[in-house]
């Protein structure tokens, strides 16, 4: 039996039906066809499915879809605004901070959560905040540089 789910997804009121056992990741990917959030492990270890739930970064593979009821969810698809890339997205491109790209959506979402809390993070802060996201291609070097470089424009010079 499917349950009714209403929540705010990337700024828009959204409703769908899902089974109580479905994870938020499954609801996003299978029910709402937003496939930008990726499944790498399905047990909260790799961060490829990172989304923001009421502004806080969570692994959507270990959150039930119904837990989003009445809350705000931001996914990678909601990062760019009005056809303009988010500074993090732009800096990831400029720094070549992605190779295969499968972990990239999760990193961008987690990095946004970091910059929302620490507009001017240190390298150590960035590494700690992103330690829940696995990347096997880059060795993290260019990802960390991109995040640190995005900080000033993401905070609007604050």
């Amino acid at each position: 039996m499917k349950s009714h789910l209403t929540f705010e997804l990337n700024g828009e009121a959204t409703e769908t039906f899902c089974e109580p056992r479905q994870s938020l990741l499954e609801v996003l990917r299978d029910e709402l066809k937003l496939t930008g959030s990726k499944e790498g492990c399905n047990n909260g270890n790799c961060g490829a499915c990172s989304v923001l739930l009421d502004g806080r970064v969570v692994n959507s593979c270990i959150v039930f879809g119904l837990e989003a009821q009445g809350r705000k969810v931001t996914t990678i698809e909601g990062l760019a605004e009005g056809g303009t890339l988010h500074p993090l997205q732009q800096k990831f491109l400029e720094h070549a901070a992605l190779q295969c790209g499968i972990c990239t959506p999760g990193f961008l979402v987690a990095a946004k959560a970091l910059l929302d809390v620490h507009p001017h993070p240190t390298e150590a802060q960035a590494r700690a905040w992103l330690a829940g996201n696995l990347c096997r291609c880059t060795g993290y070097d260019k990802i960390i540089r991109a995040v640190l470089d995005a900080a000033p424009s993401a905070s609007g010079g604050k």
Binding site: T35, K38, E39, L93, A96, Q99, C137, G139
Partner: protein
């Protein structure tokens, strides 16, 4: 002709060496890029695979009737659904292989040979129903004792995996059942003479564990076998054509009946060359008449796909007090997994490859045991081999009292050195990497002045004194490969060029290939529109592997650009009503030699319909004929060892590498940084950890524990450019060699820090602590 074309030669470039934003970048940072799991399709069925809980068992019977009676379950397939393979053999580009083995790895035959070995596939209306159905398939097993250690597996009396296997011993077929598939030998000079010339002989044994490539995207495969007999497969793969060829071989259908559509691929590192799910999806689709999608979960990826082997390597080297190596002997036993075919021959080629040693003898063994069939992993076989050699070289360096850089200078291979397998090196840049490492500030920096990441968490002075520091050096080699690549290019009226290629793009090769075409044509990288297409749309192209794409597909793109340029000259001549010889071109500007008229590439593109119509070209290259450039690297690492816990922290890492010519330096650096990170994980904590029954105990990312952002420092990549004479721009493959030196460099650094050597990977806290405690006793 050559007088007319600008061609491509080493010199100053407009596009090469710059860092444009990759063509597929926006799709990938916005979550729009479609990977295999993202595929949606009307009428799609979802499949799951039943896997063996046993490491070694005879399959007595499979009863799927209870599963098939469940609502929503549409089909079950087992190995019996493959057409009889008999004794067919196939050549899929890496030597001949028994078709029966290929099929039996995808769906087990008479025996399950490793835990996680696929037994049956189910298709159902939802993934959940398919998962439930797996529980209702009754498999009767006769559990057999597994053999999990390579040395045990080689012994007479060991449990035998494949009763009809006989050792191919230096070309002779053995007569008794065995797990040793092959014994190979390379020889150069007179090894006995070499050891007689030595003043000291070092002989050590090394062990490494099975490790996984660890790509973040699990395997996936979707198939639609339509009633007309046409099979389409969508999958994340390193090579659409190898998927086509493997699937066609297993299903015994002509390749022309199989179309493979490569989806974006979320990492491979060699592990996405073999097929696992694709043939199962195809069989399920044939039975149901509907598209079937199969996805692996992470445990299935660890247990059911091909990692790189654990190894036992013995190295014996003779040296003189002046630092010269007089003899080098090695014995390598590599885990093949459940079927023959470990990368031991690559290990043999690489083990002494950075050094010019007159007398060498290398024996290698390919050994079956109850672990997954191994697959390539970034410089397959080379990392374990380098761990052994580079450690012994470090011992020689200490014994002789000669600086590690100097001993490499003394013995390093150069142009003209003959490698043990026969190849005589063309221009290589090994010694240049040593010089770059030696000249880097890291090499001479005071290690005690580095900020210690652990120092702030350490409260007492006594504990702080237990943070030990050491610096290590190691070199590495990978031969790189050429193989075949095809591409097509067409000029658009706005002066852009569509580039259609068969090389799946894992780390930015759309751009590195497009940049080479752009350089020749004198247009910008952004004006090339690269696209990776299916197997019906472009000519045969080998896998994205062996560090070959920027080199080999780059060669195809360069040739395509030259052909376009020649056609554009003809068009300009037609437009100006002169002979082609009256037109010259430089950096994308077409001029009348006599002067007076000129057109840019863009302007001329807009006039093509007035002077002959579209300009289109297609090219295929056999890149091995051009001369593959070998890759060498020398790495320097500083470590901190917590003597109380055995934990090793990487403080600083510098990797120098001969990259030939960096087309897109940022992505070259990225290859190096990523390879180093994987090497660090291999060195310090990654391993397949088995219980006595052969069950993997750490088949999750939490327990397998790859490096996170918090575990690593910035990794400095130093690009040394010694052009490969076999490529117009000097390109060498760069992707693989960076994983080769790290375990050895870290082992050498740990040895400097704690005063004793570790010769087993991973150098986990437990092992390091054990070494420290043994030393102090």
């Amino acid at each position: 002709m050559s007088a007319k074309t600008s061609g491509a030669k080493i010199g100053t470039y407009q596009v090469i060496g710059t860092r444009p934003i990759r063509h597929d970048g926006v799709e990938k940072v916005t979550g729009r890029a479609l990977y295999g799991a993202d595929l949606q399709m009307a009428g799609l069925l979802h499949g799951r695979v039943l896997r063996s809980p046993h490491a070694h068992a005879r399959i007595l019977s499979i009863d799927a009737s209870a599963a098939l009676s469940m609502p929503g379950v549409k089909a079950v397939v087992t190995t019996a659904d493959f057409p009889g393979s008999g004794n067919r053999v196939a050549d899929l580009g890496e030597g001949t292989i028994k078709v029966r083995d290929l099929c039996a790895n995808v769906l087990a035959g008479e025996k399950a040979l490793y835990r996680g070995h696929a037994i049956a596939g189910v298709a159902a209306t939802t993934p959940q129903v398919a998962s439930e159905a797996l529980k209702r398939i009754r498999v009767e097993y006769e559990v057999l004792p597994p053999v999990m250690d390579v040395l045990e597996a080689m012994k007479p009396g060991a449990p035998i995996l494949q009763p009809d296997l006989r050792t191919e011993d230096l070309g002779e077929k053995g007569s008794t059942p065995t797990n040793v598939a092959k014994h190979l030998r390379f020889e150069k000079g007179d090894i006995a003479q070499g050891f007689r010339e030595a003043e000291r002989i070092f002989e050590e044994e090394f062990k490494t564990s099975m490790v996984h490539q660890g790509y973040i995207e699990p395997h996936n495969g979707t198939a639609l076998w339509n009633p007309g007999g046409e099979l389409t497969i969508w999958t994340s793969t390193q090579g659409a054509f190898t998927v086509r060829d493997q699937v066609a071989t297993m299903l015994d259908v002509p390749v022309s009946r199989v179309k493979v559509v490569p989806m974006e691929i979320g990492g491979g590192f060699g592990g996405k060359i073999p097929v696992y799910l694709e043939p199962v999806a195809a069989l399920l689709s044939r039975k149901t008449g509907r598209p079937v999608k199969l996805l692996m979960d992470r445990t299935e990826v660890f247990e059911g796909t091909g990692p790189t082997p654990g190894t036992v390597i013995r190295v014996k080297m003779g040296a003189r007090k002046d630092g010269r190596i007089t003899a080098a002997q090695a014995w390598l036993a590599y885990e093949a997994g459940a079927f023959a075919g470990s990368p031991v021959v690559c290990g043999m080629m690489c083990i002494f490859a950075p050094y010019d040693v007159a007398h060498q003898l290398i024996d290698g063994y390919d050994v079956l045991l109850n672990k997954p069939k191994t697959a390539p992993y970034r410089a397959p076989g080379a990392t374990s081999a380098a761990f052994a050699t580079e450690t012994v070289l470090d011992q020689i360096s200490e014994w002789a009292g000669i600086d590690p850089m100097k001993i490499r200078r003394l013995n390093g291979a150069k142009e003209g050195t003959r490698r043990v397998d026969g190849l005589v090196y063309p221009r290589i840049g090994y010694l240049e990497t040593v010089e770059a490492a030696c000249g880097h500030p890291h090499w001479t920096a005071d290690i005690e002045k580095l900020p210690s990441p652990q120092a702030h968490t350490v409260s007492t002075k006594a504990h702080r004194a237990n943070l030990l520091h050491g610096r290590g050096v190691a070199s590495g080699f990978w031969f790189n490969i050429g193989l075949k690549s095809s591409c097509m290019a067409s000029v658009n009226p706005d002066g852009t060029v569509c580039l259609v290629e068969g090389s799946t793009d894992i780390g930015g090769t759309r751009t590195s290939v497009a940049m080479q075409l752009a350089e020749v044509l004198g247009i910008s990288a952004e004006d090339v529109k690269p696209q990776v297409v299916d197997t019906n749309t472009v000519g045969y192209t080998d896998v994205t592997g062996g560090s070959r794409v920027t080199f080999a597909t780059g060669l195809a793109a360069i040739e395509a650009a030259r052909q376009i340029e020649r056609q554009m000259i003809d068009r300009a001549a037609a437009l100006w009503e002169v002979k082609p010889g009256d037109v010259e071109v430089s950096r994308g500007c077409y001029r009348l030699r006599a002067g007076g008229k000129s057109l840019t590439f863009k302007e001329l593109s807009g006039k093509l319909s007035d002077c002959g119509g579209p300009v289109v070209t297609q090219v295929t290259v056999d890149a091995d004929k051009h001369g593959v450039g070998c890759g060498f690297a020398t790495h320097v690492v500083d470590v901190e060892v917590d003597a109380d816990t055995g934990k090793v922290t990487i403080l600083r890492y510098t990797a120098t590498q001969d990259v030939g010519k960096a087309i897109h330096p940022a992505y070259v650096e990225g290859q190096i940084q990523g390879g180093v990170a994987q090497g660090i994980g291999w060195a310090l904590n990654e391993e397949y950890y088995y219980d006595l029954q052969g069950r993997m105990q750490n088949s999750s990312f939490l327990d397998y524990r790859m490096p996170t952002a918090l575990d690593l420092p910035m990794i400095e990549a130093v690009l040394v450019e010694v052009p490969n004479p076999g490529h117009p721009f000097g390109v060498r493959g760069v992707g693989e060699v960076p994983i080769v030196p790290p375990p050895a460099a870290i082992a050498n650094a740990i040895s400097r820090a704690i005063g004793t050597r570790l010769r087993t990977l991973p150098m986990s806290p437990a092992r390091v602590l054990e070494a420290i405690l043994k030393r102090s006793r």
